[in-house]
């Protein structure tokens, strides 16, 4: 409850700060303001996927359902945030680079990252047995995550280079940190709800199994 409220309030504050309070950037103008949400969804989304990976490894090691729930919830939220990251990046790119997309290293790696986690979610939904789905998704996560830095390196060798961050005034930095904080709170709030949902799902499944046993 408090987490949801905190997430909502910080999101509103971040929105206000990014659109109004932060100064207008010298070269790019107002379109630069999308950067606060682009970077926030990027950092938080990527971290969420890392949490998903850790959950997967823990699940393979310990085989406890809660690790799989953590992994699934974090991957779902992270995937959504990465989608937002790519879309905001594209919206920014058109007025600034005059192209919706380029095949430079970070973008290409981001697209492949997106496809990998799409495949991850497809794999989960195509397996009926929940324990097998958890195990297979966890197994897939590991080479999938390992390939991402390698992909970035390969494409970096293949093409030369995304704007690097620099030259932030104090107000911009505060806005950025506020925005990252807001998205982190949003992630935690969503995670809490999703974990509760997963836990309830597992309880229902085990109740169903018990009912089956009693019937036979």
């Amino acid at each position: 409850m408090i987490l949801d409220g905190a997430a909502a309030i910080s999101m509103l504050l971040a929105l206000f700060a990014a659109l109004g309070w932060a100064p207008t950037e010298a070269t790019m103008g107002d379109v630069q303001r999308i950067f606060y949400f682009h970077v926030s969804t990027g950092w938080v989304g990527f971290s969420a996927l890392l949490v998903g990976l850790v959950g997967a490894i823990l699940y393979l090691w310990r085989e406890e359902g809660r690790f799989d729930s953590l992994s699934l919830a974090s991957v779902e939220i992270g995937f959504t945030f990465i989608t937002m990251n790519i879309l905001t990046g594209s919206l920014w790119a058109k007025p600034v680079w005059n192209a919706w997309w380029t095949w430079e290293p970070r973008l290409t790696t981001a697209a492949i990252l997106w496809l990998i986690y799409l495949a991850h979610l497809m794999l989960r939904s195509s397996i009926d047995d929940p324990q097998r789905a958890a195990r297979f998704a966890a197994v897939y996560s590991i080479p999938a995550a390992a390939s991402i830095p390698i992909t970035f390196l390969a494409i970096f060798w293949w093409r030369g280079m995304h704007p690097v961050m620099g030259g932030l005034t104090p107000r911009m930095l505060v806005t950025l940190l506020l925005s990252v904080g807001a998205f982190t709170l949003l992630y935690l709030a969503l995670l809490r709800h999703r974990l509760r949902l997963a836990h309830l799902g597992r309880e229902i499944a085990s109740l169903g199994e018990q009912a089956e046993k009693r019937r036979t």
Partner: protein, 223 residues
């Protein structure tokens, strides 16, 4: 039984079983040859020098034909109950993965040699060079190893073969990139020394993903 004797036995079983009807091998060859042909038509309309697209066209053909062979490795096993037999035997689980990867690698390599001969004739290029064959073999090895693990994951799902490309291709991107670059470098008149950093990426990928596949396979087949 020792690890390598088990691997050899499983590889031999796969080779003999496939050689009897050559069902999958012929499907793989047909697909690869068709891809090469279609690329020729597709790019002749736009690109002046078709030779420039040969490395990419070859590897697209190998990747998709290879996918056919990979999906076979566990689907057939499951359908005919061979996998249960293998799992009941007191063998190290990773021996099954190594054996399956090896047989997939063998089948893919056989098709690749035939397709390279065909492409040499069609594009009037010398593709049967030792350095090119080495690069092809190295790239195929990593793809076969990773693909065997992914095939084991998808063989048990509802979506089956449809899911395998979605799972395998994004993860295999760096391998594909490196091997196409290395192939292109060689065809542009270079030597192995000239493409050494791409070759390093291919070998690095092979080692990392074959190791991961070997370690993770046990989790896939446990019941």
């Amino acid at each position: 039984m020792s690890f390598w004797r088990v691997v050899a036995a499983i590889v031999w079983k796969d080779v003999v079983a496939e050689w009897r009807d050559k069902e999958v091998l012929s499907a793989m060859f047909a697909l690869a040859a068709l891809v090469i042909l279609i690329f020729n038509f597709a790019f002749e309309l736009r690109v002046g020098n078709v030779r420039e697209v040969v490395p990419g066209a070859l590897w697209v053909a190998f990747i998709f034909a290879g996918m056919l062979g990979l999906s076979r490795s566990f689907v057939l096993e499951r359908d005919r109950g061979y996998l249960d037999g293998l799992l009941l035997a007191p063998v190290d689980r990773s021996a099954i993965l190594v054996a399956k990867s090896l047989s997939n690698w063998l089948f893919m390599s056989l098709i690749e040699v035939i397709v390279l001969l065909l492409a040499s004739a069609l594009f009037n290029l010398d593709l049967m060079r030792a350095d090119l064959l080495l690069v092809t073999a190295l790239g195929t090895g990593g793809y076969a190893g990773l693909g065997t693990l992914m095939s084991a994951l998808t063989a048990n799902t509802r979506a089956r073969e449809v899911l395998l490309p979605a799972l395998l291709l994004p993860v295999a991107v760096p391998l594909l990139l490196a091997v196409v670059k290395a192939t292109a470098g060689l065809l542009d008149g270079g030597t192995l020394a000239g493409v050494v950093h791409w070759l390093q990426m291919v070998i690095g990928f092979d080692i990392i993903f074959l190791t991961l596949a070997g370690v993770l396979f046990g989790f896939v087949v446990e019941e």
